[in-house]
Amino acid sequence: MPKRTDIKKILLLGSGPIVIGQACEFDYSGTQACKALKEEGYELVLANSNPATIMTDPEFADHTYIEPLTPEFIEYIIKKERPDAILPTLGGQTALNLAMKLHEGGVLQEYNVKMLGADYQVIRKAEDREQFKECVLKAGLAVPRSAFAHNLAEARQAAHGIGLPVIIRPSFTLGGTGGGIARDIEELERIASLGLECSMIHEVLIEESIEGWKEYELEVMRDYKDNVVIVCSIENLDAMGVHTGDSITVAPAQTLTDREYQAMRDAAITIIREVGVETGGSNIQFAVNPIDGRMVVIEMNPRVSRSSALASKATGFPIAKFAAKLAVGYSLDEIQNDITRETPASFEPTIDYCVVKAPRFTFEKFPEAKDILGVQMKSVGETMAIGRTFKEALQKALRGLEIGHTGLDNKLDYKTISDEKIRQRLVEPNASRIFYVKYALQKGWTIEEVARLSKIDPWFIAHIAQILDLENELIKNAIRGKSIFSTALLRKAKEYGFSDAQLAQVMNLRETAVRALRKEAGVITTFKLVDTCAAEFEAYTPYFYSTYETEDEAVLQIERACAAPKGKKIIILGGGPNRIGQGIEFDYCCVHASFALKSLGYTTIMVNSNPETVSTDYDICDRLYFEPLTFEDVMNIVDVEKPDGVIVQLGGQTPLNLAQRLQEAGVPIVGTSVLSIALAEDRAKFARLIESLGLNQPANGSARSVKEAVQIARRIGYPVLARPSYVLGGRAMKIIYEEARLLQFIDEAKEVSAGHPILIDKFIDDAIELDVDAISDGQETFVGGIMEHIENAGIHSGDSACVLPPTTIGETIIAQIKEITCRLAKAIGVIGLLNIQFAVKGRRIYVLEVNPRASRTVPFVSKATGIPLAKIAAQVMVGEPLSKYHLSDKLIEQLRHVSVKESVLPFSRFSGVDIVLGPEMKSTGEVMGIGATIGEAFVKSQISAGQSLPKEGKIFLSVRDEDKREIVSIAKRFERLGFLFVSTRGTAKALRAHAIEVQEVGRYDQGGGDILNLMTLIEQNAIALIVNTPSGEGSQYDMRFIRAAAILHNIPCITTIQGAREAVNGMETCRTKELTVQSLQEYYRVGGNVSCAAL
């Protein structure tokens, strides 16, 4: 049957901000779905609150709504757009939950909107653990023994029946929020009560612990004709007990015989039919007892998931695209496999390589949190590596993580680690366990012993042992003085995935020397194709990975492509795995660059290692190399591609860090030169530049020793802002008020800065911070957007809410800022994008930082203004003049709306972590609120960020002395809105002095008796909003427990006076005016701002 003609207009739901457990994989799937549905001629309405996504680019849908993903706002959109159908299975758990609520609220029925892919009953069956379990049992399959609990008494009873340890899983949550393993009754009570609260329906499952069992996942697709295929099987290296998002995983499954695999396949098919997912992709998890092979079903996602993205990238089978096509009525056999162009999509990919996914953690950002892994996901990103063997893929994945490892190397000397420490790191799953497997083997522990302790299947450990054996052989050779290895040994090392840098350590040579040596010996990388069919059919995909074999298919394809001459060739280097400070925003820029350069007739080549991204979709570029972003891996690609240019300024710090070495190796870098990049990064040179231009900069210095640091700080005076150079996201950046803290900081920063100096700036208190994104062609510069931070200077710009256009800065200052930006761009020699941070105090403008590269805010600015900055920048980098685009300030001045960007923080994932922001970036993602006034935009941004401001109730106010004056006026406004107050002594006194009624409470450790205790109030959910501005570092500590409790109880928490001001602004707006929704296309039309004609 062809596509459905009874529907014309479809509403697609996105997944909102990037959070742990829901990252840019849903931009990938949503973008694929947009393309597929537009291709079929449907009118597409899109809702997503995340401006950094490709899917929210105005050209991907007919009506793009950057609005909060809540039932209320989606109802507004439905009311306005009247879509025939809603597709909720491509926007992660967020979209699925949203659709469920819309159904439960009767909205879908009222407006006659059909659910595509899976209907309400099906989603319930799959998501509700009780119903799902029934389904599985009905299908004759096994599940772990379990019972449901809706309160603590039921939980205790269930655990008693099953026997401890048990796993607690809340129903209807994201990424396992609120779950955990309980080994004793206290743990049970603690985790279960939390889980009950996290669950949308106040239900938890108490389950037999199958910790240590082998964990598998199958990606399944079904069409309306009931054809089912398995796209990919995945085996987890970490056994059951570690969230699959935090596990190292391998595709395909490795240790199942055909019988066992087919039994699992049969089970998956039975389940998808029993649950009744009509069309699209699902993911089903299994656990297998390693002792006797008993297989139990764990759970199912009736939607495209993170694993679907991984499976798509691992096999070349575009799950999301096909899911969209199936949803509108196609069957699998009616869809063509793009890769072979002649076989249908109704087949199962077979692969002839091994894929390893490794999670990227950011525990270093949250020093209070332990890096122990469990059933709740904690990783913020992932990298995928492809190799011909597991050994090769594993080592590529580990160096692709960009956490300072060159492979499965020896960052620590195993001899210095105690047996006890190793045993503990093996037993307790943690972020660096894979390295401890190696350390244990180096100590001579047997494969079986390591397997027993870690519960990792010995198959994996045996491969690590092989890597170690080869390393020992290499070392033996090196000791014997044969620094020049035999070609055979060198080749074997490369086949085992050893990087040149790793070999350099072993051979005691420089990496470049190893590279030269091996090229001379003819040990040269070959590229193989990802083709879904193990070469059985001719493939047209331009999707490659490197390995060491005899035949190079990239060379063959390049030759074929050369026969039909195309324009010049540009390599775009992506950003690698997501991390805090470097995520989807940079992928957005890379993808835009590819679009923009393709439209100029260039051949574009993408290099990236992140399977969650749009950039690693093989139809974004002319050729895709799925490779780690290291010097060696990039050079190997440069060697075969011989590009006319390489773009390093769009993928964040990762490619920028490679720029100098690439240039030294003769690679043509386009855009801002390496010299100019260095000029902006080098504090001394930069300070001279600022001085020569007559600009201001906070007093500063760069220290290479402790003594120097102390001297500088004394010279410029405390407080100071200290940080290592050459890092992104303000890694390890701190505001320091006294010398003792400075010394401590320097000690801690050593590991982060890796030999680079430590930068010390005078911290400017109480300034307004501004962020500017601009493009320059070397002559002309265009300021694309000026954003005013809502928080004080000192909070990392990535974490700070900001507003565009600025609201409290006068025109004179704005004009000055534009002028300074243009002068700086020219002086530095920027060709491409440029981001400058300013601090304004009174009439004085300070230049805080200049980054001659794409910034995190580029997509936000582009969405707010309709000016595609990244596209223009990419074209400018290859030589197009800026004048071509007819950009003028008018384009921005005509806009009649205000945009607010708010950041989304992962604190709820890291128990015990304080939520106060500082100069080190901690947010994982961002949302955007658009409105006619800043109040409206701010409220929308808060709702999108999950910080729904209350309409009534008690507000807890506790502010530092400096803020006491302003809090009075804010409190009066809150009072007029009908709010009541509770306060600690100091603030209460200030409020009472102005006749504001307030109830005084003790803090968490005070009170008792007659005095109300704040902690109790929080636990009773009696507090609607917390406004708590902490003063200097010492007293900050007092309130951290309160803020942590606020997170647990989902109480919005404001930590700056500016934030409080905007909150009251927003609440006043809500009272006077009903919030409305508008599409980007409408906003741009009103502003007379259509996307750049030249693009």
Partner: protein
């Protein structure tokens, strides 16, 4: 490490290392794209006379066991992989794959760029090849390959069929409606029968009398079977005229069910032609459309020859299954008689179980014969 070479008849060669030094072995080189099931592949008699290249690079991960065998021994002439696993992991494993291959004296090599080799075979077609650990001289290897008969026209069935008749699943029975027990007696012509076919028939309540391939209709009739099964097997179907003759005589007299080579033999017996595919179908991911039920199954496949659709006598035979990758014939049915056969492997092993329901048709045909009223 023992240097080894896979030399192909077109002069191309691929280097690798042998797992043990046992000389030379020649056969037709084919590639298999299944990611699991190497033990089933090795012991499948249909691979007699062939050197099998596994496209999945890591082979031996789960060792070998006593159960996952499709016959009593290994039939492949040689085994070519990217990397053999040295440390197997599976609770059922009883031995490592390398030991198993050594014990059975199979010439197996690793370290080969199997993807390049597969691409070569895809472009140039399946061809003769020789694995050698001794002779690396192209001229001499070519001479040796010249002497090897081509797959086309070769009767490999006689090499693999059982020498004597035997019974599988004696007194096998299933409960029907909770009341009656029924039992079908199946005569099977063994052209190299995979054991999973026997296991499935037994499970469905069949007692299978397995006959050597050169058996006669008289011998078959003597046991008074409910149905005739023609098995899979190696080589060119056109070369086993004795089986074709027997089958031809049985059409109309007994329900007949054929798989793979059995299907080709049936096609020939009914007047169709067979031809050799360029590189065949060997894997576990081929989509096949059941034209009667209008559903798609992912099937296990292993064949180098194929029945020509255009040669089917349209008055008697209809196509019931089609391969969606290349639109080749996957199943036929006789319009008058209970005769049904499939090119793919409903018994899987290795591969998906999507087509296993087809055995049900065989049971139904036998049931109808016994009790024509229903």
């Amino acid at each position: 490490m023992i240097r080894a070479i896979l030399f192909l008849e077109d002069g191309a060669f691929f280097e690798g290392q042998a797992i043990c030094d046992n000389g030379e072995s020649a056969g037709e080189v084919v590639f298999n794209t299944a990611m699991t099931g190497y033990q089933e592949v090795l012991t499948d008699p249909s691979y007699a006379g062939q050197i099998v290249v596994m496209t999945y690079p890591l082979i031996g991960n789960y060792g070998v066991n006593k159960e996952d065998v499709e016959s009593d021994r290994i039939y492949v002439k040689g085994f070519v992989v990217k990397e053999f696993c040295r440390y197997y992991s599976n609770y059922r494993a009883t031995q490592g794959l390398i030991d198993y291959l050594k014990e059975n004296q199979i010439l197996a090599i690793e370290g080969v760029d199997t993807r390049a080799l597969t691409r070569h075979l895809r472009v140039r077609g399946a061809m003769k090849g020789m694995i050698s650990t001794q002779d690396f001289d192209p001229k001499s290897l070519t001479r040796k390959l010249d002497r090897l008969p081509a797959m086309e026209g070769s009767d490999w069935v006689k090499e693999v069929t059982s020498k004597e008749k035997y019974v599988w699943g004696q007194a096998s029975q299933v409960r029907d409606d909770g009341q009656q027990t029924i039992r079908y007696k199946v005569a099977a012509i063994d052209c190299g029968m995979k054991r999973n076919i026997l296991r499935i028939l037994e499970r469905l309540g069949c007692e299978v009398h397995v006959f050597p391939a050169n058996t006669t209709i008289k011998e078959i009739a003597a046991i008074q079977p409910d149905g005739l099964f023609i098995s899979n097997g190696p080589g060119d179907p056109a070369a086993v005229s004795y089986v074709i003759d027997t089958v031809r005589q049985c059409v109309g007299k007994l329900p007949i069910f054929g798989i793979c080579l059995g299907h080709q033999i049936l096609g020939l017996a009914l007047g169709a032609r067979t031809y050799k595919l360029k590189f065949g179908h060997h894997g576990a991911n081929h989509p096949v459309k059941d034209l009667l039920g209008n559903r798609i199954g992912i099937t296990s496949q292993n064949h180098g020859f194929c029945v020509d659709i255009s040669s089917l006598p349209a008055s008697d035979i209809e196509m019931v299954d089609m391969n969606l990758n290349d639109q080749t014939l996957e199943g036929i049915r006789h319009k008058k008689y209970p005769v049904l056969s499939f090119q793919h492997h409903p018994e899987a092993a290795p591969g998906p179980h999507d087509a296993q329901y087809l055995f049900g048709y065989f049971i139904e045909m036998m049931k109808d014969r016994r009790d024509p009223k229903t």
